[in-house]
């Protein structure tokens, strides 16, 4: 009997039809991928199955019987479990205590610990239930979430973009667990936009585009190109990546050590890095390994860097304000677009004022006409879909706002550009455009530093790669010599001559 069947599910949100007559069926023991770009309606569909959102139309059949879960409790009672992209764990509690919180009072903590060990053993998930969550790596935290989901003995497990926070090795491990789970008859709905993963793991794939089903395929028989056609309606444009012609060192980081600013941060230790004119250097790493701290020190948002540790054109800028650095030619596109890269409620025109102050007249006079002209130019040149220069930043989709922000900095003709997660949450078309713009900038002689958690992106963009792990930076390797395995190993802090302190080893074990 079919485990789950969705028939003509529709959901209308103000201004957007998130799901438009979507049908989908999942068999017992099947790993079923739901593939689509950001905004294709995947999350809404999963929330409907999980009872967090009610559909406007359509029916849900669960083991052949119509159901309408009104909330996640009802869905869980049916046997649906979900692992969210963002974990909901209390840092100060142990793994077992976190799991216990989500269960009823029927079990004692000791019983929960025993159950966790049992389930974890059965599926090859190694976690220590007695460790406090704040000491765990991201991969370990995800395993707790999975164990928590499995303790409910689900018939259907939903995983939302589960690999975005994992090293390649941890991904392999997760896949092993999922295959074992499927072999016991549990169905899995696997949400992702990563084509390779879906082809490697899933038995069946439903492709969504703009709220509609555009394909039902067997992913093992498809190519990345054919899947991508279904997902975005076209093949991703090829990027021209000419050989780099590196010039002089523009940005140099010399033995930068920085104690963490808060208890959840990461301390930087002895970071060394050169970025030359005409090259793109990529920084790979699992999130939370010091990327934020490094970027804040480079951009000037964190002005605590020791003197002499950050040099721009051989001039010490380690204590300079972001505005001084910008005047010297260093521009930065942060990871958070709304609230950091742009003020959500202000118009695009006003948002240019954050980093582009040449429009400010004498005596600090703001000239609205020039602001709007600048914004209009950026909108046109970078193909930003927006109502106009007066549209508030938050009215733009993630991809369009990112195009605007990257455009705002590129248009300033930077000598050094630092970009964090350039295409995070951005659809394929806009990603390609942003990457092409960065490559063009490089060819024009700018020094570019890209920090990203997506290895594919770094392989596509960068000329050299460095890896950040536990606040330390690896030596660089040319992209031509880099492999996923090697970078993955380095992500755990295991690069040649790396002094691996005890804490690092622990994380490595956890990932192994």
């Amino acid at each position: 009997m079919t485990r789950l069947q969705l028939i003509d599910i529709s959901k209308q949100y103000p201004g957007v039809r998130a799901n438009d007559r979507i049908s989908l069926s999942v068999e017992p023991g099947q790993i079923h991928a739901v593939l689509g770009e950001n905004g294709a309606g995947k999350s809404t569909l999963m929330k409907i199955i999980y009872g967090a959102v009610q559909p406007d139309e359509g029916r849900i059949l669960w083991n052949g019987r119509p159901v309408a879960p009104r909330n996640p409790q009802e869905a869980r009672a049916l046997g649906v479990s979900m692992v969210f992209q963002h974990f909901s764990l209390f840092d100060t509690l142990t793994a077992a205590e976190n799991v216990w919180l989500g269960l009823g009072r029927s079990l004692s903590l000791a019983q929960v610990v025993a159950r966790i060990r049992e389930v974890a053993g059965a599926y090859g998930l190694d976690i220590d239930p007695l460790r406090p969550v704040h000491t765990l790596s991201v991969g370990e935290r995800q395993r707790i979430e999975i164990v928590r989901a499995l303790l409910a003995d689900p018939q259907l497990l939903i995983l939302d973009e589960p690999t975005s926070v994992l090293t390649p090795q941890a991904v392999d491990k997760l896949f092993g667990t999922l295959r074992k789970l499927a072999a016991t008859g549990c169905s899995i709905l696997y949400i992702s936009h990563k084509l390779d993963e879906i082809r490697a793991l899933c038995h069946h794939c439903t492709v969504l585009r703009a709220g509609r089903v555009t394909g039902e395929v067997d992913p093992t028989r498809e190519t990345n190109a054919s899947l991508s056609r279904l997902m975005i309606g076209a093949e991703p444009p090829e990027l021209r990546h000419d050989a780099p012609q590196p010039g002089e060192v523009r940005l140099a980081v010399r033995d930068l050590s920085l104690p963490r600013a808060d208890q959840f941060g990461t301390s930087l230790s002895e970071v060394r890095l050169d970025v030359r004119a005409g090259e793109i250097v990529g920084v790979a790493g699992v999130s939370g390994n010091g990327q934020q701290e490094l970027l804040a020190a480079l951009s000037g948002e964190d002005p605590r860097a020791p003197r002499g540790s950050i040099l721009l054109f051989d001039r010490d800028i380690s204590r300079a304000s972001p505005r001084k650095r910008r005047r010297a030619g260093l521009h930065f596109v942060p990871e958070e677009r709304l609230g950091r890269g742009a003020v959500p409620t202000l118009s695009l025109a006003q948002n240019t004022l954050l980093t582009r102050t040449h429009t400010v007249g004498p005596l600090g006079w703001v000239r609205p006409g020039e602001l709007r002209a600048l914004a209009a130019r950026l909108i046109e040149r970078y193909g930003v879909k927006a109502a106009g220069p007066d549209a508030p930043a938050r009215s733009l989709s993630g991809g369009n706002l990112q195009k605007f922000l990257v455009g705002r900095e590129i248009d300033a003709d930077p000598k050094v550009l630092i970009v964090s997660q350039p295409t995070w949450g951005v659809d394929v078309g806009a990603s390609a455009q942003i990457r092409a713009a960065l490559l063009a900038l490089r060819d024009a002689g700018c020094a570019v530093l890209v920090v990203s958690e997506e290895l594919d992106e770094l392989f596509e963009l960068a000329d050299r790669l460095v890896v950040i792990a536990q606040g330390r930076l690896s030596p660089s390797m040319p992209v031509a010599q880099a492999t996923v395995e090697r970078v993955g190993e380095w992500m755990s802090g295991l690069w040649p001559n790396a002094a691996a302190p005890a804490e690092q080893r622990r994380t490595v074990d956890a990932h192994a």
Partner: protein
Amino acid sequence: MLTLEARPAPSRAMSVASPLIALAVTVVVGALLFSALGKDPVRGLQMFFYEPIKSGYALGELAVKAVPLALIALGLSLCFRSNVWNIGAEGQFIVGAIAGAGVAMTADATTGRWIVAAVLLAGMLGGLAWAGIVALLRDRFNANEILVSLMLVYVADMLLSYLVYGPWKDPKGYNFPQTITFLKATQVPRLFDGSRVNLGLPIALALVGLFWVFMFRTFAGFQQQVGGLAPLAARYAGFSSRRALWTALLVSGATAGLAGALEVAGPLGQLTPYVPVGYGFAAIIVAFVGRLHPVGVVFAAVLMSMFYIGGELAQSRLGLPKSLTGVFQGLLLFALLACDTLIHYRVRRRKAPAAAAPTSARALRAQGGA
């Protein structure tokens, strides 16, 4: 069933209509309140909405109360837009009044009219210094500005009492806690005969224009607001949060102090323990009802002033308690906050959920698992 549904974009029409709807709600609830108190609601509402505007003299009295409210609220608007929560404008108002009075008392028979400028300037500096304490403690020790500014209100109140009961007490004042009546030369010039409206009105209106220009046409004003709207964006851009803090507090302190000086050197003419009447707190409501916008503040100040006068009239003519003024102020703010929801949401009538009740989940699960 009625449900709230998020709008795709905030409604512009609603952001204009919301204060009007709020006012209408206040009127309706007010009418019910009068009926419940056994008074004629029409006459009750007349006290609040007709009597204060029925003659030139009444309009003048309206302005006398609206000017200090608008001045303080202007400064607070800038403060709140910068995400600095100065709740102690009342204290800055008092210290401004004290400083103004201190200068006014130095006048003698030969003093020229220039003393008025000195009085007002002293008032501004007094309020500025009082708010400066808040800024200093916040900047240096990260002390919460809400608590510090509020507590300084009571310190200022004590300071005022000390002066009027002690060193500044009028020797010929029959031991009443009050200073001498200031000399004629120190009086803020009145605009018309037969009305108490004085120079404060054009000063306030000029400041409205000045604040508008600063907020919306200068880079400094832009930086100030970015710090309030998105602190991370301000840090990313490299705008100084310390400068924003100091600017916000010093400016709002100065406007509150100016209001205090205008009050003692204007309608009051002497310093008494009854100088503070809550303008500093009412101005918080004025700032929000006015949408933290200089022009909006003017309308809100006039409205709030009507409530003050209406409350007094209701007290004297209808025998209603004085707290009615506070009730009306609170009602308006409450209604406005509620109506503001409609800017981002709309009310939709929704069909009742489908009649087919979901089968018991547990029962299904038992079957499915079999």
